[in-house]
Symmetry: C2
Subunit: 166 residues, 2 copies
């Protein structure tokens, strides 16, 4: 299966999209708390990761009161959810080019490396498991995992291009 | 409180030592399984971390059958446990100098960096929580966490010295 750009398209089913979207619809009713749990989990695993975020380094409020942290966590959640929809429709994740360039540059300049995306993925999946335990199943883990992986791959690819051009 | 070398001694109580030692005595009855769970947790969080271990890169057996992986996990467990005993007795972690030099060199040459110790700590604490849920409590988490932190600090210090000397 190939998409219009000739790249190998990803097989992502309607069922997989539904696993992501339906759980997101439940979680987003408590979006702020869920987003906060997500990033607190990251910092529980890797306390030094707070240093990667300018808005945490310079902050005079505690982690759990930081509005930018919640906004960042929400952005990751919603983009992973949108990735699921795109994967199902087109077999690839297409972040708008201007958005991707900006995100790639921000993450590269912050000192984010490939390994950080692994910890974020683990924390994301743990957060979803804790937020919707009654819906959680291996297939849901796999669907969110795939959606996140393809989003992360698009970002990492952009970071690689930027890094090669400097 | 200062120890014989003039460094600030750590206050680590008999109760804290008991929290570590007693839980270890239960866990070590299933030592091989517990050790394996510990490192499988690390690789669940950070799959690329397998690449840091020469005995995993070159292995022709699966992770859960790798005897060197279990041995490594057991070594971390027992050293953290011994650290607790030392902290209580002497207020510091003293790894034998020849052992520490060897460990420092091995870890530095493997590409281990400070951030890896954070993920290992998280995985260690999660493994203990899952292995002895009936004993687990915040004080136990804190006691194991402190014992591990001081062991990791001794290793990181040795790695810093080695890195400065090359």
């Amino acid at each position: 299966m190939e998409n219009s750009e000739g790249a190998q398209a990803i097989a992502f089913s309607e069922e997989q999209e539904a696993l992501v979207v339906n759980s997101w619809n439940v979680m987003k009713q408590h979006a702020a708390d869920t987003a906060l749990s997500f990033f607190l989990k990251i910092f529980e695993i890797a306390p030094s990761a707070t240093q990667l975020f300018s808005f945490l380094r310079d902050a005079d409020v505690s982690l759990d009161k930081n509005p930018k942290l919640k906004a960042h966590a929400m952005a990751v959640f919603t983009m992973a959810c949108e990735s699921a929809a795109q994967l199902r429709k087109t077999g690839k994740v297409a972040v708008r080019e201007t958005t991707l360039k900006k995100l790639g540059a921000t993450h590269m300049n912050s000192g984010v490396i490939d390994e950080h995306f692994e910890v974020v993925k683990f924390a994301l999946l743990e957060t979803i498991k804790d937020a919707v335990p009654e819906m959680w199943c291996p297939e849901m883990k796999d669907a969110w995992g795939q959606a996140y992986d393809h989003l992360a791959a698009a970002m990492k690819e952009e970071m690689k291009l930027l890094s090669a051009s400097v």
